[in-house]
Amino acid sequence: MSGVELAHGANQTSIAPPEETWFHFVWLLTKDTRFPIPDWLFLCWLVIGGLVVWAWWTKRNLKPISTSANQTVAEWFVEAIDGLAVSAIGERGRAYTPLIGTLFIYILTLNLIGLLPGFMSPTSHPYVTIGLAIAAIASVHFIAVKELGIKGYLMHYIDKPLLGNPLTAWMVPVTICIHIVSEFAKVISLSMRLFGNIFGEDVVLYQFALLGLAAYGFFRGLIGLPPPFQMLFPFQLPVALLHLLIGVVQAFVFSLLTAVYIGMFLQHEED
């Protein structure tokens, strides 16, 4: 598969995965059945299973004072995400630490798992990120209805300052439309941000690896390098470091934005 084909695959509606992962046999086994399972879906389930087992095992071995590296890392995660939720939502944000933390750790794992050989980042597939964004925004609205009640939730769509003045009251239906459109725009921007970053980084990684292979081919013709030396030009390594950074930042941004959207709804009650 060339880079151009990869780039064109982004807007195809087919769910057929690339053929490079180790989990391609799942797709080959199920693609003709009524419920085809692509590589990225299987990897998502694998990551969910691994994270559940990790969380269960960490909780089982909890000690009052951390003695293991695992528990220290888990505590650091919880403290950092709790601080994030409290700073973005306020003191009541502590109740939503589990939601935001789940999103953060899950997306972080999905982003970074693509760096392992034989794996791919499921978040470089648009369906995965669109699903994640819909789930996040749906939970934001669910939380808003739960916290504010149906009436308070609907009042969010009406700008009260406009209602006070008869000259501006006619603008209220317009702002309602704008609010509704902006809710859909939230889903699009959340999903496309994650997808665009991870997919773009994947394409760059792929092209730099191809560049390394091309350099190997050049030198093999020149001085006769035998095949094991095809790993001699790992041009993709600096890009892989960038992928590490971008994967963490994008997971952070996704969870921060979810927290900010929850905070935007809950602020209305304080007014």
Binding site: A10, N11, S87, A88, A185, I188, S189, M192, R193, G196, F252, V253, L256, L257, V260
Partner: protein
């Protein structure tokens, strides 16, 4: 493909190719200005670094989302390019 259609398609393709980089250029300018302001604020008040950093990330993300709308439009329009 007829002459007019080919001309239309070539102009269309050029517009699709130019639109996204145009959005990226201006968004990069905006993000650079936001980063400058944030680093100046941190240099003036290092104790506020945490708050400034969070606001910076939020601002960068909101600027980036405009580029993402351009990217979505790019994906939609790019699928409409028909090669002769």
């Amino acid at each position: 493909m007829e002459g007019n259609a080919a001309l239309y398609m070539s102009i269309f393709g050029a517009a699709v190719a130019i639109g996204l980089p145009l959005a990226v250029v201006f968004a990069a300018h905006a993000q650079a200005r936001a980063s400058i302001a944030a680093s100046e604020a941190v240099a003036r008040q290092p104790e506020a670094a945490g708050h400034v950093w969070r606001f910076l990330i939020l601002t960068l993300v909101l600027i980036e989302s405009l580029v993402i709308y351009a990217l979505v439009a790019f994906f939609i329009l790019q699928a409409k390019i028909r090669l002769p």
